[in-house]
Symmetry: C2
Subunit: 199 residues, 2 copies
């Protein structure tokens, strides 16, 4: 019986290597791309190429940008003495979307992950220390993910910045808003009780 | 507060127009593509372009192919007197994957959909009638989806091919294997009971 032609198989493999795309979705997406006409495919490819063109990391906070420094770092209305440390650029944009945070960022580009041999040297840690020692920083908000790797990364940063006279905080863990208590996992629930606040 | 740079927004919009990709996944995929280095992005783009190059519809069954006629139509070991009619190329490949069907196919490239003004003239219906009248066809298996549009498309084909002396069948609806009866929706269950078989 027949399979997909080789070049389609290759496209499906490539698409399924993207985050969150299983083999079934990859097939569907590939066939959707192939069902576009030549000029639509060219337009699609151009959009990818154009987005990548001149895109680089901001030399201050390591956000992606097509300018010399990123939009956040060049915004004089923001509070540059508070730095929120995140694992990935997508975390930065998740926080930005809410429009409640007016400090600046530092993107680590990963997290300490002993199982996958990712150590602090593979992350933008030295650059964070440099910022703290050279800029007028008052607070570091650690916004690594609330999981094992995020926790050890937070602990590492906390120790790394101890010599500097700055406030170090970590974003709260607890019940997500709108959830129901009997649906929340027991670790989250126990931490929510431990971190209870007087009201 | 800052948003994604315009060209990244454009990429996210384009990616989220692909089937099954929500805005959140589109963001994640776009940032993943942008985190690749230049040569990896070029490779990705090349794979898309190469897959599209010379890819066209088989003039017999309208499967996609990079040859004159598709792999299924040129396979002399298959039974060319049985034609399985499907809505989309992805349905053809879903059936092919099982390696149990040895007839050939006819891809309609859509289904009759009155709400979206898709009528038989927009589908490969004339071409199906031509095949039935010119080739030595013994059976047409209608494998349109078991939903409203798939049902009316099946009904249309059934009436369209009535004048020809061929067997017309439709793939069975019923309980999917491995399911549990109390989890199946009532329409499926009622059809499974109506279509019960003597054992």
């Amino acid at each position: 019986m027949s399979d997909f032609p080789d070049r389609i198989e290759e496209l499906i493999r490539e698409i399924s290597s993207l985050p969150g795309i299983g083999p079934k979705s990859a097939e569907r997406i590939s066939l959707c791309i192939l069902s576009k006409n030549e000029s639509e495919v060219e337009k699609f490819v151009n959009i990818i190429q154009k987005a990548k063109e001149n895109m680089h990391l901001c030399p201050v906070c390591f956000n992606i940008t097509d300018k010399e420094r990123c939009n956040v770092c060049t915004d004089s209305k923001r509070n540059h003495s508070i730095i929120c440390v995140v694992e990935e650029v997508r975390d930065l944009f998740a926080i930005e979307k809410g429009k409640y945070y007016d400090g600046v960022f530092h993107v680590l580009h990963g997290r300490i992950d002993p199982m996958n041999h990712i150590s602090p040297e593979n992350l933008k840690m030295k650059e964070l220390v440099k910022r703290v020692s050279e800029e007028d920083v008052k607070e570091i908000i650690i916004a690594t993910n609330p999981n094992f790797n995020g926790d050890i990364t937070a602990l590492y940063i906390q120790r790394l910045l101890k010599p500097y006279d700055i406030k170090i905080t970590r974003i709260a863990t607890g019940l997500p808003k709108g959830t129901e208590i009997d649906f929340v996992d027991s670790v989250t629930l126990s931490m929510a009780i431990k971190d209870r606040k007087e009201i």
